[in-house]
């Protein structure tokens, strides 16, 4: 039994319907809202499995169903659904992980007064993500992309009465919006040059060779191929959404949302969207590989940014004390891995890692959620400890997740996917940097995950909350166990000996034999050694001699206080943004302010126009600055705003007259310019 | 539809009586030089319409008074001329020679223009009614829209009359009249939409053509004989009563209570013009009702086709007008709150639901076989009757039959 591509829309439509149901229910409609959401997600999971079944029948085929959305000028704006193994695998993963997270939320959010709204938002989020996956049009993808952004804003700011949550939501929204600006520009440019936004459309789609040849044939400023330029612009969106350097700053802050949301965002959906986008657009991104004369290949940029992010995330994670922040930075780091893999050309490996990571990261987050839930919302690992005996189920599953993330050999899925990436990076000839960064991150990951587990579960409780922790209910434990099972099993789908997943994704025939298992054995040994070193060091610092109290100094900080402080401050990225972008904005605002004051004596219409212009400038600045510090900008903004406001006299006639005068001026300019 | 009619009929297109009006027209236009014949044709139509409906108006006033009299067990006017037939003439003479009073503070121009505008707009509506098989003065593609556009514009004249009188009671009454007209325009238009939807055209001739034919030669395919059509016709009829200020919706005038509302400051011939416009509007709405729901000029049975089509049209028109008068003789006047509540809480929802019924009827047009046909009818009837009963119950909730303590 399969799901044909015409009916693929059902997968996102079901959660969307659940969201609609949740939206109209009153606050007391807890049971119907949750059951609608879970039922829709379960049905979507079943449908996704059917779709996967269909897609695997002919993995090389891109089944599409296109239709006209509306007519525009001479052509129609087309939308469509796409079913290929990439879509199908992603859908299964998203629906399955999502379903488990939904179930987990039943327990975690049990006491929240806005339980129904929470499930409404979760469903909306899942619907947007699934829509993004099944889209066969960059436009539809973009729409869902923005919906994902909206839903994440709503979810991160779910506890909006907490200022930190509201600020984090705003930050996430605006930071990703910055990347989306590039995405939108790339999208428009692509539409302008290719005349279509469909991915596959019987030879006319933008990912098909005919159009790609046309795109690579043109060059733009700087000698870049057109496809490179568009690819890089589109990649901006992925950078923002997937929390890549330099737009990674929102991701750790997004921990302000409820923990299931963190699990959803970091494991299955939002951050995966960026990786998925690059994987989906891989033919476009890789189109310039054949060209020798270009200054830079799009994929090179992807690989380098991925490498930097992988390393940076891992380094910063070492010094974080919040259990969720550690996981957040590890997500940044792992996403860097995926980008790295995409950049070096191993997109199947990237998706393999994406899938495995989705499961074990969801596991880790839900485990962290279980810890937090049990410890009465205590998140600081310095104040936890000794939970091994109090939360046995959580402990066991969490350790499995940790092992998977750290890449403990052979048994755990993370090992195989990470190995595949390192292998691909090894084979990349352009630069050795990704390989080195990857290897360093392997060791660091093992180290900080050991630290996390040791601090949280070993030793003795260091706060009353930890001392009185009680195991979470079954509705929360069962998802953990299921995810733990997947975190182990999934790895065997893509071992070098039997790379079933990669072959299915690429649509290539499967060549499995046991002798491939230890292919590139040297690299594998090196990475195993690094993992061992990381775990060993971590255990030596944190496990053997657990800290005595919450106030005790970190052993690593004792060794190198400066470095540790810098890492704890996340290498000062936020401060850097505040100092640069924020100050720039303040300066621009001051200039605009001065200009306005100077012009004030002139004609009202002049002020109005300038004020509007100044307003546009200020808004651009605003968007640039908001990902930095809001506070630094606030004062300047307020001053500027006050002076712009002076142009807003409230007199309708003034506005009208300004419009008319502007029109006359425009007309005169056009006439003088010879435009008939 | 069985192909062979039970009774042999003559070809209606060639019958002399059927073609008589056209022959007359051709004869008259033939008297003019060819370059002016189109003008002559149109002028002829205008003259015939004005004369015909003006005399119909005269007869209607008489007939109304006679029918009302009979309903009240009295003969009605019967002195002027044989059986009172010259009564309209006497009335005309009376209004013509009566003093024309214009209040000093009134807006002279608008006060004068109001009745003129009203009558001309009311007359314009006659242009698109198909009076017979080939008898439509102006064949318009958007005739229904034209008709209601002309009808909507009459509201302006009511306002002009009320405002120009510079009498606060006139103005208030005009606003009340406008509130009524606007409220009832909605169900009126909404009740027409299903017809347009099912006929697939806005042209009146097209709508009449859509109702052609008979089942077994005796059951006509008129819209009123379908569930949605019956409901639509009732809605149309009630709204038309209100739109033409007829009893029981004659609040704007309410001679006995409001001294004729916005017409208070009018006398003499101007008043007569208002009166005339009211009758024109009523006649035109009835004509539209005949066209939309009662099959226009179609004969009710196949064997009755030998009677010319225009005769059928006018027979139905007079029948409807008679019902108007009958209702006037029966029902007392509503209060303004009852009036608006009836429109917004009863007629409009019913009209909207009727739209759905008509859509169902259209979608189920392909159902064949007696069982499906029966199901189609039952569903459509349920869609009509259910909301009617429920809304009616809500509307009449808390209203019991009045008990008269001191009456026998």
């Amino acid at each position: 039994m399969t799901l044909s591509v015409q009916h693929l829309w059902l997968i996102p439509a079901l959660p969307l319907a659940a969201a609609a149901v949740g939206a109209v229910l009153p606050r007391s409609g807890r049971v119907p809202a949750a059951s609608a959401a879970i039922a829709a997600m379960g049905a979507a999971f079943v449908l996704s499995c059917l779709a996967l079944n269909g897609a695997l029948a002919d993995p090389a085929r891109h089944a599409v169903h296109n239709f006209a959305w509306f007519d525009l000028g001479h052509g129609a704006v087309m939308l469509g659904w796409l079913l290929d193994p990439l879509t199908a695998f992603m859908c299964v993963m998203v629906t399955f992980v999502g379903l488990l997270i939904f179930v987990f939320s039943l327990g975690y959010m049990r006491d929240d007064p806005h339980f129904a709204r929470f499930f409404c938002f979760l469903s909306l989020f899942a619907a947007a993500m699934l829509g993004l996956l099944v889209a066969n049009s960059l436009l539809l993808l973009f729409i869902c992309w923005e919906l994902v952004g909206l839903a994440s804003y709503l979810l991160i700011g779910f506890w909006f009465h907490r200022p930190a949550a509201a600020a984090a939501a705003k930050k996430a929204f605006l930071t990703t919006r910055l990347g989306d600006l590039g995405f939108l520009l790339g999208l428009l440019w692509l539409y302008d040059s290719a005349g279509s936004l469909l991915f596959y459309d019987a030879g006319r789609g933008v990912l098909e060779s005919g159009v790609l040849a046309g795109l690579t044939a043109q060059t733009v400023a700087g000698g870049l191929a057109l496809s490179t330029a568009i690819g890089l612009l589109l990649f901006c969106g992925a950078v923002g959404k997937s929390g890549q350097f330099p737009l990674h700053v929102w991701l750790p802050d997004a921990m302000e949302g409820p923990t299931p949301v963190s699990a959803l965002i970091h494991a299955a959906t939002m951050v995966a969207a960026g990786v998925f986008l690059v994987a989906r657009l891989y033919p476009l991104m890789a189109a310039d590989q054949a060209l020798a004369a270009v200054p830079v290949h799009a994929l090179t940029v992807v690989a380098l940014i991925g490498a930097v992010t992988a390393l940076l995330g891992a380094v910063i994670a070492v010094a974080q004390d919040d259990i969720k922040r550690v996981l957040a930075f590890s997500t940044v780091s792992q996403l860097g891995y995926m980008m790295l893999a995409l950049g070096v050309g191993a997109w199947t490996a990237a998706i393999f890692h994406l899938l495995t990571h989705a499961f074990f990261k969801a596991l880790l987050f839900l485990g962290a959620g279980s810890v937090i839930h049990a410890a009465h919302h205590e998140q600081d690992i310095r104040r936890l400890g000794g939970l091994r005996t109090r939360l046995p189920a959580t402990y066991r599953t969490f350790v499995i997740g940790m092992m998977a993330l750290a890449g403990v050999p052979f048994l755990f899925s993370g090992f195989w996917s990470k190995e595949a990436i390192l292998h691909a990076a090894h084979g990349w000839t352009v630069s050795p940097l990704p390989l080195w960064a990857g290897l360093a991150a392997v060791a660091l990951t093992a180290f900080y995950m050991t630290r996390l587990v040791a601090e949280t579960f070993f030793g003795s409780p260091r706060s009353p909350a930890a001392a009185h922790a009680e195991e979470s209910p079954a509705v929360m434990r069962i998802p953990l166990v299921l995810l733990a099972g997947c975190a182990i099993l999934l790895g065997f789908l893509g071992t070098p000996a039997w790379p079933w997943l990669q072959a299915r994704l690429a649509g290539a025939p499967l060549h499995g034999s046991l002798e491939h298992l230890f292919e590139g054995g040297g690299l594998m040994l090196l990475s195993i050694a690094l993992v061992g070193a990381g775990i060993g060091l971590g255990w030596r610092f944190y496990g053997r001699r657990p800290r005595a109290s919450a106030a005790a100094a970190d052993p690593l900080a004792a060794a190198s206080p400066t470095l540790m402080a810098a890492l704890a401050a996340r290498l000062g990225c936020d401060e850097f943004y505040a100092a640069t972008v924020g100050r720039l904005h303040a300066l621009a605002a001051a200039v605009a302010d001065g200009l306005d004051r100077w012009v004030l004596g002139a004609a009202v219409s002049g002020v109005g126009l300038l004020g509007q212009f100044g307003g546009v400038v200020s808004r651009e600045n605003d968007e640039g600055a908001l990902n930095g510090g809001f506070d630094a900008a606030g004062a300047g903004l307020r001053g500027a705003g006050r002076s712009y406001a002076r142009a807003q006299t409230g007199r309708v006639h003034g506005y009208l007259r300004a419009l008319a005068v502007a029109f006359v001026v425009l007309g005169l300019v056009l006439l003088a310019g010879g435009v008939p | 539809m069985p192909p062979a009619p039970i009774f042999a009929t003559l070809d209606p297109d060639r019958a002399f009586l059927e073609r008589a009006p056209l022959l007359v027209r051709d004869f008259v236009t033939g008297l003019f030089p060819p370059s002016l014949q189109w003008l002559a044709g149109n002028l002829l139509a205008v003259v015939v319409i004005v004369l015909f409906f003006a005399s119909l108006f005269a007869l209607l006033t008489l007939a109304e008074r006679k029918i009302l009299g009979r309903i009240q067990n009295r003969p009605g006017p019967n002195r002027t001329g044989p059986a009172g037939l010259l009564q309209p003439l006497a009335d005309a003479v009376k209004t013509l020679v009566k003093e024309d009073i214009v209040p000093r503070a009134a807006d002279q121009v608008l006060h004068f223009l109001a009745p003129v505008v009203l009558v001309s707009l009311a007359l314009m509506a006659f242009a698109v009614l198909p009076y017979g098989r080939h008898l439509v003065p102006v064949e318009l593609d958007a005739a229904v829209l034209y008709f209601f556009a002309a009808g909507a514009a009459t509201e302006l004249a009511v306002f002009m009359a009320g405002w120009a009188s510079r009498n606060k009671y006139s103005l208030l009454a005009a606003m009340r009249a406008l509130a009524q007209l606007i409220s009832y325009e909605l169900p009126l238009l909404l009740s027409v939409v299903p017809v347009v939807m099912l006929a697939g055209t806005l042209s009146t001739t097209g709508i009449v053509a859509a109702q052609a034919g008979w089942t077994y030669g005796v059951i006509p395919h008129w819209h009123v004989l379908t569930p949605w059509g019956a409901a639509g016709f009732l809605l149309f009829f009630v709204s038309a009563l209100a739109e033409s200020n007829r009893s029981p919706f004659d609040l704007p005038e309410a001679e006995s209570e409001l001294i004729a509302g916005h017409l208070t400051e009018y006398s003499g011939f101007k008043y007569a013009l208002f009166f005339m416009a009211e009758y024109f509007g009523m006649t035109a709405l009835c004509g539209m009702g005949v066209t939309l729901f009662l099959g226009g000029w179609q004969a009710p049975c196949a064997f009755l086709e030998f009677i010319p089509s225009y005769a059928w049209f006018f027979a139905k028109l007079l029948l409807l007008l008679g019902v108007f008068m009958w209702i006037r003789g029966t029902l007392p006047r509503l209060r303004i709150d009852q009036l608006t509540r009836f429109a917004w809480k009863f007629l409009v929802p019913l009209a909207l639901i009727n739209l759905g019924t008509a859509a169902f009827w259209q979608l189920s047009a392909g159902w064949s076989g007696p069982a499906l046909q029966l199901a189609r009818w039952l569903v459509a009837l349920a869609l009509v009757a259910g909301p009617f009963t429920l809304l009616g119950r809500r509307l009449s909730a808390g209203v019991a039959p009045r008990t008269y303590r001191y009456a026998a």
């Binding site: 509306f70 007519d71 006639h653 007259r657 008319a660 005068v661 029109f663 006359v664 007309g667 005169l668 056009l670 006439l671 008939p676 | 608008l110 318009l140 593609d141 958007a142 829209l145 034209y146 209601f148 556009a149 002309a150 909507a152 514009a153 509201e155 302006l156 306002f159 002009m160 405002w163 103005l171 606003m175 406008l178 606007i182 325009e185 697939g200 055209t201 806005l202 042209s203």
Partner: protein, 169 residues
């Protein structure tokens, strides 16, 4: 013919903008709108002409007149135009003249195709297919817009809960 129509459209419009009595202005505008409908009819856009009459002459004018009366615009009590008003009027006429000059110049400078023959024929059926086919989405949006606008208008114009129906004098 077009000059006649222009006269019918422009003269009432101009007069409407000059009158001090708001009701007269509104009624003159109705005349101008009717003239526009005549223009549409002359251009062969029958449906639009009737829609114009139905919407403008039948509905918008009513709303305007109701607004005029509900806001108690008494022409007798209107203040005579003061200096500021005169100045504003002068500026307005100047601005409008400038706009007119620019557009007029642009029009006259543009070579436009010569007269087409008979007015184009667009039956209601074609129009309906066009509306329901190519422009169905826009039609839906317009429908939603109208609904929302009506609801909004009702909310805006409805008396506030504490307010007496008559309001203060």
């Amino acid at each position: 013919m077009i000059l006649l129509l222009a006269l019918l459209i422009l003269v009432p419009a101009a007069a409407a903008m000059l009158r001090r009595n708001l009701v007269h202005s509104a009624l003159l505008l109705v005349l101008s709108w009717a003239g526009l409908a005549a223009f549409y009819l002359w251009s062969g856009a029958e449906f639009v002409a009737f829609a114009q009459v139905l919407v403008y002459v039948g509905a918008v004018s009513m709303v305007v007149l109701f607004a005029v009366l509900l806001t108690r615009q008494n022409p007798d009590r209107a203040a005579p135009p003061d200096a500021a008003a005169r100045l504003r009027a002068g500026a307005a006429v100047l601005t409008a003249a400038a706009v007119g000059a620019v557009i007029g110049h642009a029009i006259l400078a543009t070579p436009l195709p010569a007269a087409a023959g008979a007015p184009p024929v667009l039956t209601v059926r074609q129009l309906g297919l066009e509306l329901m086919g190519r422009h169905a989405g826009s039609l839906l949006v317009i429908g939603a817009l109208l609904t929302v606008a009506l609801l909004g208008a009702v909310v805006l114009a409805a008396a506030e809960p504490g307010e007496k129906p008559g309001g203060k004098p």
